[in-house]
Point group: C2
Chain length 125, copies 2
């Protein structure tokens, strides 16, 4: 029943889980504390920041994160309410939206990224 391989798999899985939770938790709390945004919000900012091209975003962003389409939509809502991002409708296809950082968003991302990278480094060593 419980083969050695099984036990190894479970070990490996728990290790991934705990790394994930520990790291995500630390980053989330730090960002919340210093910048009043959660990890999820930061991750969207980060994706938008790194895609400089002006394609119709929402959709493509969805392909680069494990987040659900509906989760993304809500995160973007919050970022928009916080004045960090703006949605622009896309002339080519008016179903699509593309996203852009506001100045405040760009600035916050710049500062939060430092914290984010530092905590990743600390946790993924």
């Amino acid at each position: 029943m419980a083969t050695t391989q099984d036990r190894q798999l479970v070990e490996q899985w728990r290790s991934i889980q705990s790394t994930y939770f520990r790291t995500a938790g630390m980053i989330d709390r730090a960002l919340e504390l210093k910048f009043s945004i959660g990890l999820t919000e930061f991750e969207i900012l980060d994706l938008v920041a790194e895609s400089a091209d002006a394609a119709c975003r929402m959709k493509q962003l969805g392909e680069r994160t494990p987040m659900t389409q509906s989760a993304m939509s809500k995160v973007v809502d919050r970022l928009e309410r916080a004045g960090l991002i703006s949605r622009h409708s896309c002339e080519d296809d008016r179903r699509s939206l593309f996203l852009e950082l506001t100045d405040a968003g760009r600035e916050l991302h710049r500062r939060a990224a430092v914290e984010h990278r530092a905590l990743l480094k600390e946790n993924l060593a």
Copy 2:
């Protein structure tokens, strides 16, 4: 600013994230479908199943999972309602509880573990 090391860290992090979400999602859906329990519930069953000794559990279990104390309490609620686990108060320290699988819980765990291990194998290769 964005050093090579930073980019590698972010890459590594996203890889952990996506492995975690993909795997957790698959297992969760499979267990839900076939056994009507979620991954979280299974993980508690699994921990209880593997600690054969009769210590005062709740507390110690908490040390072996990234779950919050309050999350655990609620998961155990659900497992108890489902008739898979029972709480017993501990004579030595009446604040503590220890947990035990019911027969149904043991049986379900046995079958679900097969599925769980198989999906881990498939995803963590």
